[in-house]
């Protein structure tokens, strides 16, 4: 096996455990999207074109409220802002690949593939660019393809789930579940607290403006708390 092939399979092996997360999550998106009133083509269109679970759930939640298009887009893209961070942190390692490969790598950039790839690149600085790309595509294979299939299965099954299952609440629960493990530092907790407080206080504003204001203030607070914490640590 060539070193490129073995890099692919190493990536595949490192990405494989995420199947356990991606399959239920995809099923849930299929179910929730269908429950919200999207047809199979629309659910699959979103899953294939956007391929970002959290943003898709956010969009569905707002579309259910008949929010204006611009608000749905602004919220979904705000949720996906972290992808720009991933892109910035991967750039030194794969920024030199051919443009078409970078374009495809960008399409498949998800939390799990980013997380395993960046660890591997930092641990093995001797990897060639070809090996890095092979590893990356290995890591996305067991994540992205099961995502499509699981969403499809969820959308097909979802239409048959009765209302007693309260699946309307699967969206907020999923968001809580995604967000809770992110509370790593005081700065993250402060940002989340400001986000909740401001959005509840301003909930009377139209067009989900409350969310935009809450998010911007929360980001500023998070960044500020991070600076203060770092300074205090510097003095200690």
């Amino acid at each position: 096996m060539s070193s490129t092939q073995s890099a692919y399979w190493r990536g595949f092996r490192d990405g494989a455990p995420f199947v356990l997360v991606v399959v239920p999550f995809g099923l849930l998106f299929g179910v929730v999207g269908t429950e919200a009133g999207l047809n199979l083509a629309e659910v699959m269109g979103m899953t294939v074109l956007v391929i970002a679970g959290a943003a898709q759930f956010a969009a569905i939640a707002l579309m259910q409220e008949n929010a204006p298009t611009i608000i749905v887009l602004a919220t979904a893209l705000a949720v996906n802002m972290r992808m720009a961070m991933y892109s910035a942190s991967l750039a030194p390692y794969i920024g030199g690949a051919p443009l078409w490969q970078r374009a495809i790598a960008a399409y498949f950039m998800v939390d799990q593939s980013y997380a395993v790839s960046i660890v591997e690149y930092e641990r093995r600085p001797e990897m060639s660019l070809r090996e890095r790309m092979a590893y990356y595509f290995g890591a996305i294979s067991p994540v992205c393809f099961p995502w499509y299939v699981a969403t499809w299965a969820g959308a097909v099954l979802g239409a048959r789930i009765p209302p007693e299952f309260a699946l309307d609440f699967a969206v907020p629960i999923t968001f809580l579940a995604i967000t809770a493990p992110m509370m790593r530092t005081l700065a993250h907790v402060s940002a989340a607290a400001v986000s909740v407080g401001v959005s509840l206080a301003l909930a009377f504003l139209p067009y989900n403006l409350w969310l935009m204001i809450a998010a911007v203030l929360a980001m500023m607070v998070g960044a500020r708390v991070e600076l203060l914490t770092a300074r205090r640590r510097g003095l200690a």
Binding site: F165, M183, V194, L211
Partner: protein, 109 residues
């Protein structure tokens, strides 16, 4: 949802393009150059700044009950939050939340 098919597809396509542009941004255009530290510091907090604000009203004033606070949904949110903080496992938190929802709904009839 009362959005038209055209609106739905407009949202889907623009979300797809916008998300791809965010992902492509640095590996595509900036290459190996570095981003200013202040920008990274703000970007780091986008998920925790957006998601809690998005769900807080849905938890307190659920659509399914016509906006009335519901003990089963509060318990569900509490369970998902606690299990998520404790185990750092997204799927475990989802199942605990939905489990708590069904349990409290069953107990309160």
């Amino acid at each position: 949802m009362t959005l038209s098919t055209t609106t739905i597809w407009t949202i889907i396509v623009l979300m797809g393009i916008g998300t791809w542009l965010l992902r492509f941004s640095f590996i595509g255009l900036i290459g190996n150059r570095k981003m200013p530290e202040w920008a990274l510091r703000h970007l780091r907090y986008t998920p925790v700044a957006v998601m809690p604000g998005l769900i807080a009203p849905l938890v307190l004033w659920p659509r399914a009950t016509g906006g009335e606070t519901d003990p089963a949904r509060l318990a569900a949110a509490g369970a998902a939050l606690v299990i998520g903080l404790w185990t750092k496992n997204v799927i475990a938190a989802v199942f605990s939340g939905m489990g708590a929802l069904y349990l409290v709904q069953f107990l309160t009839g």
